[in-house]
């Protein structure tokens, strides 16, 4: 079988397994998977910038939070329904990513990390400053009645666990398909080439800045979509999601799963979720246990779980 066909069927199989798990998993784990799938979308968005384009951003929490607030604030204050709120979330993510990308991409390397970190800090402090609308770190609860998606005559109630799981899976599958197609497209190849040797790409006549800006915008929109979905599916929006922690987490998930792999972010997110969940059942020093587990993992899987599998056994993995 051709490498492309193999990886295509692998992705289809992953989606089918996740679909089946909706009916097989116990209630609690179905809830965990719903949450982890939405956060995996966030990680997949981050992976596009970091893994494929080589842009080590420390500020992606602002894109996630742009989606979270972009959807949540109109619902809470203007009593909008979910669909138009989803639209504003994507617009907010795209506009923010365009503006931040335009300015931050004038820098590179460590300077890019610092600039993105500072932009994210500005965004985080803004969510606190406009506490009259956001309630800052305390946050807002989205009304249950507003958390529904009318679709083709159906009314999908987002508080219903199986429906929530299916929506999270649909989102994950869509973003997986987009990233799968994107990274295999000529544009995706050019992003990987920029990551590998930016100067050579410039010499070959590529507009490196425009390509990178495109990657930041697509990445920002995917992260904003994840943020909007998180708010709508779980009903809470708060400044904590704009904090530095939520810029570090996707980096961790991606490194753990495997940077520049399409499936890595999903594996990394699920691994971290269960590592915290299991370790916290035994000790309050669970972050220490998780830290040790991560060190061991990186020692034996230096390119992340999927990245190392690709390097050692399955070179056709995208």
């Amino acid at each position: 079988m051709m490498a492309g066909a193999k990886s295509f069927w692998l992705h289809v199989a992953v989606v089918l397994v996740l679909f089946a798990l909706n009916f097989l998993l116990p209630e609690y784990h179905r809830g965990v998977f719903s949450r982890a799938m939405v956060l995996a979308v966030f990680a997949m968005g981050y992976n596009l910038a970091f893994g494929y384009t080589g842009l080590l951003s420390l500020g992606h929490a602002m894109f996630f939070a742009a989606g979270l607030y972009g959807a949540g604030l109109p619902i809470y204050h203007l009593e909008w329904s979910a669909w138009p709120a989803l639209g504003t979330a994507l617009l907010a993510g795209a506009a923010l990513a365009l503006a931040v990308g335009f300015l931050a991409l004038r820098t590179a390397g460590v300077a890019f990390m610092i600039v993105t970190l500072m932009f994210a800090q500005v965004f985080y402090l803004a969510t606190l400053y406009f506490g009259a609308y956001t309630r800052g770190e305390e946050g807002l609860v989205l009304p249950q009645a507003a958390r529904a998606l009318p679709l083709l005559g159906w009314n999908l109630v987002l508080t219903d666990p199986p429906t929530r799981y299916m929506i999270a899976l649909t989102l994950l599958a869509s973003v997986l398909a987009i990233t799968f197609l994107l990274v295999r497209s000529p544009y995706g190849r050019s992003l990987i080439a920029i990551r590998e040797n930016e100067e050579r790409m410039r010499m070959l006549g590529y507009n490196v800045f425009a390509n990178k800006l495109g990657a930041v915008v697509v990445s920002g929109v995917i992260c904003a979509t994840a943020g909007a979905a998180y708010g709508l599916l779980f009903g809470y929006i708060g400044s904590g999601f704009a904090s530095i922690q939520y810029s570090i987490l996707p980096l961790l998930w991606v490194l753990l799963g495997g940077a520049a792999t399409t499936l890595g972010p999903i594996i990394g997110t699920l691994f971290m979720f269960y590592a915290v969940d299991l370790a916290s059942s035994y000790t309050s020093a669970y972050m220490l246990v998780v830290g040790l587990a991560l060190i061991l993992l990186i020692l034996f899987f230096p390119k992340g779980i999927v990245g190392t599998i690709r390097e050692r056994w399955l070179p056709w993995l995208p």
Partner: protein
């Protein structure tokens, strides 16, 4: 009106009592049937499982440590007295890391994995707000000990209740008259520039105005600030009182710099002990607090005239006369808040006994029984003092202490009346569906 322990439950909601009686009848009938005897016995001896959402780690860890101790002590006491409806109480603890996202996951874990009867004990308001939607969706009672206004605001859901500790709006309204009458009418507010500080800003101003006082300046401090000297010149010279609610490690620097700025002749100081919970009032740098006043939900230091039930409470939870652990004098308690765990567990007990709680099918009835509570007398089950519960907004109201730092100890100088803190409800949870 029916009495359950110290809690009176209004009988105007006949449906609750009728439902309880019907439930009793059904249970009695089922128990009498031969095939159900074993089941009924198994049910009656099965523990009532309470999921305790605890801040074991994160910014709330000091509070969490003491909330856990009080919860264990109260559960032990309840079990020694026969449990709830003859069933022992089992507390299952999960750490939420004082994080709202993890808080919501913990609620799911309690409901779907631990299969607890209810969830209880959350303090930090962002964790409550982050977790409440999950509790509402899972239709599991969520008894918080948080003191935020979020429950009373009506923005949570029918399952979210705060029956063991008063909220910040009531606290602020309670202390405002005393401040205006005793410390001065011109007040400057120094507060952290986020939701917690904004609550004080928004509630204190109107309460002070109602007493003929005036907020002469607002000094919001950005949350990232670590030094405060440059903000202190914003305090007008004619200020009578500085009302401060700084929290976290910054409070030590804040007080020290305030002392250096004003020397011995500054305005009066009034603060909320939240800033200094679990912190020794005699810590280096806090000398400037001598003579200043604080709000305390319950007094940290043993007071000479305290009732016997308060002394019993202090002994049972393991605090000495200075409000520190009996095992370690440096381990200062969060006395002004942690009584809420004790009182909430007794409210839960009263509500469960009112509806003869048998299992998750009685959760809605239990919430209705809590909503029906009105007057709560002071006593062994409610050592902080008498209270009244407003079922519409799921919030309890009570008396507050105003204490002064004298010779390095907090001494209660005034106890506000319960009525001082009352306000018009802005919501009605009882009209919301379950």
């Amino acid at each position: 009106m029916t009495e359950f322990g110290n809690v009176q439950i209004a009988s105007k909601r006949g449906i609750t009592r009728r439902a309880a009686l019907q439930g009793l009848g059904v249970v009695a009938g089922a128990a009498a049937a031969p095939g159900f005897v074993r089941y009924a016995q198994a049910q009656s001896s099965e523990p009532i499982r309470i999921g305790f959402q605890c801040h074991r780690t994160g910014i709330g860890a000091a509070y969490g440590r003491w909330y856990e101790r009080v919860t264990s002590a109260t559960a032990k006491l309840i079990n020694e007295a026969g449990g709830i409806n003859g069933r022992p109480l089992e507390i299952i603890i999960e750490d939420d890391g004082t994080d709202p996202a993890r808080g919501a996951e913990v609620v799911q874990k309690f409901a779907n994995q631990h299969r607890v009867d209810l969830i209880y004990g959350t303090l930090f308001s962002h964790v409550v707000v982050g977790s409440a939607p999950a509790a509402g969706e899972l239709k599991i009672p969520y008894y918080v000990v948080s003191e935020g206004y979020h429950v009373a605001s009506g923005k949570m859901n029918r399952y979210c209740v705060q029956p063991g500790i008063t909220d910040v709006k009531a606290q602020v309204r309670s202390v405002a008259p005393w401040i205006a009458q005793n410390l001065g009418k011109k007040v400057t507010l120094v507060f952290p520039d986020y939701a917690f500080g904004h609550d004080h800003r928004d509630f204190f101003g109107p309460a002070l105005q109602a007493q003929g006082g005036e907020v002469v300046a607002l000094v919001p401090i950005p949350p990232t600030e670590t030094s405060f000297t440059r903000y202190l010149p914003q305090i007008p010279r004619d200020t009578d009182v500085i009302y401060h609610v700084m929290v976290g490690p910054a409070v030590l620097t804040f007080v020290k710099e305030l002392g250096e700025f004003f020397g011995s002749g500054g305005p009066q100081l009034f603060g909320f002990i939240d800033s200094l919970e679990a912190v020794d009032i005699n810590s280096p740098g806090l000398e400037f607090l001598e003579g200043s006043h604080f709000w305390e939900g319950m007094s940290r230091y043993a007071q000479p005239n305290m009732p016997e039930y308060e002394a019993v409470y202090r002994r049972t939870v393991g605090i000495d006369e200075n409000g520190a652990s009996v095992n370690d004098p440096n381990d200062v308690s969060t006395a002004a808040h942690m009584f809420g765990c004790w009182e909430t567990l007794y409210v839960i007990k009263a509500a469960m006994e009112a509806v003869d709680y048998r299992g998750p099918q009685d959760r809605a009835k239990m919430i209705e029984a809590t909503e029906a509570m009105t007057e709560i007398d002071a006593g062994p089950e409610h050592p902080q003092g008498r209270k009244t519960f407003n079922g519409k907004i799921h919030q309890v109201f009570g008396e507050q202490n105003i204490s002064q730092v004298k010779d390095g100890k907090l001494q209660v100088v005034h106890r506000t009346s319960l009525e001082d803190g009352l306000y018009e409800p802005e919501a009605d949870y009882t009209t919301m569906p379950f």
